[in-house]
Symmetry: C2
Subunit: 250 residues, 2 copies
């Protein structure tokens, strides 16, 4: 059986032997894709053997680094244009995907030959990005480089491959910095949301309790939100107002 490489539609054996003609060597992109569900921040991980890893890929020689990141996000989640931001560079000299057994097992299980000298087994500097997405609009796909996908709580992560746990930690901390100066975190909520939902999101990101009425007062005073009709619930209790972000520049 001939395996076709997900990244480039090459035959997998050809990709392993000559993929660096098409892609920049020693450089990879890894994406931290973050959503918010049931009061928890979650990240999208892919399974390879008994480890989980971040969705990622390589940079085509004819693509900019940002374009490559967007392409990988689109291929992995079918999302076109969410918030996608550069996170950081992970550049330890010992970052070699080929060092662990998972990668080798995957290659061998694909029915192709194994060679330590493949370009994909060399040292890789990872350029990492993070995306904030609405989980309900996100439809991850599984390719031949991974067996399954899953959304995981940041505080209950499975066994993580290589240094991807450090990348996840960096993204988690970046969110805390972001929330104090930007509105980007609203990508994590649907277009219309209630103040209790916004309150839960801020608490989840900052990992601390926020006084609910003070939070709500501050948010409403910001003038950033537009009030809509109340949410119609089937459950008993007060129906909260729905809000959405005011359109910028209108």
């Amino acid at each position: 059986m001939t395996q076709i490489c997900y990244f480039c539609s090459m035959d997998l054996q050809e990709f392993l032997e000559e993929g660096d003609k098409l892609f920049l060597p020693n450089l990879s992109i890894d994406l931290v894709i973050i959503g918010f569900e049931e009061g928890h921040l979650k990240c999208l991980l892919l399974k390879m053997g008994n480890k989980w890893l971040l969705p990622g890929g390589y940079i085509r020689r004819d693509q900019s680094v940002d374009e490559a990141a967007r392409t990988i996000l689109k291929d992995r989640t079918n999302l076109e244009d969410p918030h996608l931001q550069f996170l950081s560079v992970f550049g330890d000299s010992e970052r070699r995907p080929g060092l662990g057994s998972e990668w080798k097992d995957f290659i061998l299980n694909s029915g192709v030959k194994w060679d330590e000298g493949y370009w994909v087994n060399d040292r890789f500097v990872s350029l990492t990005y993070y995306a904030l997405v609405d989980i309900n609009k996100t439809h991850p796909t599984v390719h031949n480089f991974d067996e399954a996908y899953g959304w995981f709580h940041f505080d209950a992560l499975p066994d993580i491959w290589m240094d991807h746990d450090q990348i996840l930690k960096k993204a988690r901390n970046r969110l805390k910095e972001d929330i104090n100066r930007e509105l980007i975190t609203h990508n994590l909520l649907p277009d219309k949301f209630t103040m209790p939902e916004l309150h839960k999101l801020h608490q989840a990101i900052l990992e601390e309790k926020l006084d609910r009425s003070r939070f709500q007062k501050k948010m409403l005073a910001s003038g950033l939100f537009e009030r809509l009709p109340k949410l119609q619930k089937d459950t008993p209790g007060r129906n909260p107002y729905l809000y959405r972000l005011k359109k910028q520049g209108v």
Copy 2:
């Protein structure tokens, strides 16, 4: 005459032909080295032909990306341990140092052969860092890759090579963000400084007028500074107090 490559002590011809055995291909590091003098923010640039460029270099295969950046900073300024922070990645698909004439002229003037196919002429993704230094403690050195160095006002830059003007702009903007949340900008001043000097630094970074007495009140109220004896001036007028940063954790 045999030219020795500054980066690796290889013979220059050998470096051009086989340097990618020692260094990662397609990846470079560029440094924005920033100082403060006579009320102005200045950056260190090197001359190559009729253009000026950022100090930079390559990543040895046995070095982490951060180590490579520190090595380049040390080699270029003789500074050991200043504030050195990752800035951003510049990854356009058309970033080819070999495209302009300056690089080619430099190579040809070095008395070695020219070949479009040298690894140094390929596409390069630049990982950029910025350092805040005390100009008086900084002793730049000029190597065989550059003819001269100079400190330039950010608002009076000479003719800049490739996309290095964009990298400079990014660093300039980052400083404005930094000043609101960190104390790193004090690296730009000597250990002991006056409040008027600190005021001028903040104005230079933010590119706006700050009310002097309100600024001074805010700084003193922060509790971050220790007052020292007055500055002894030879010129007439009041002698201002000197200050220094209180030691952390003491």
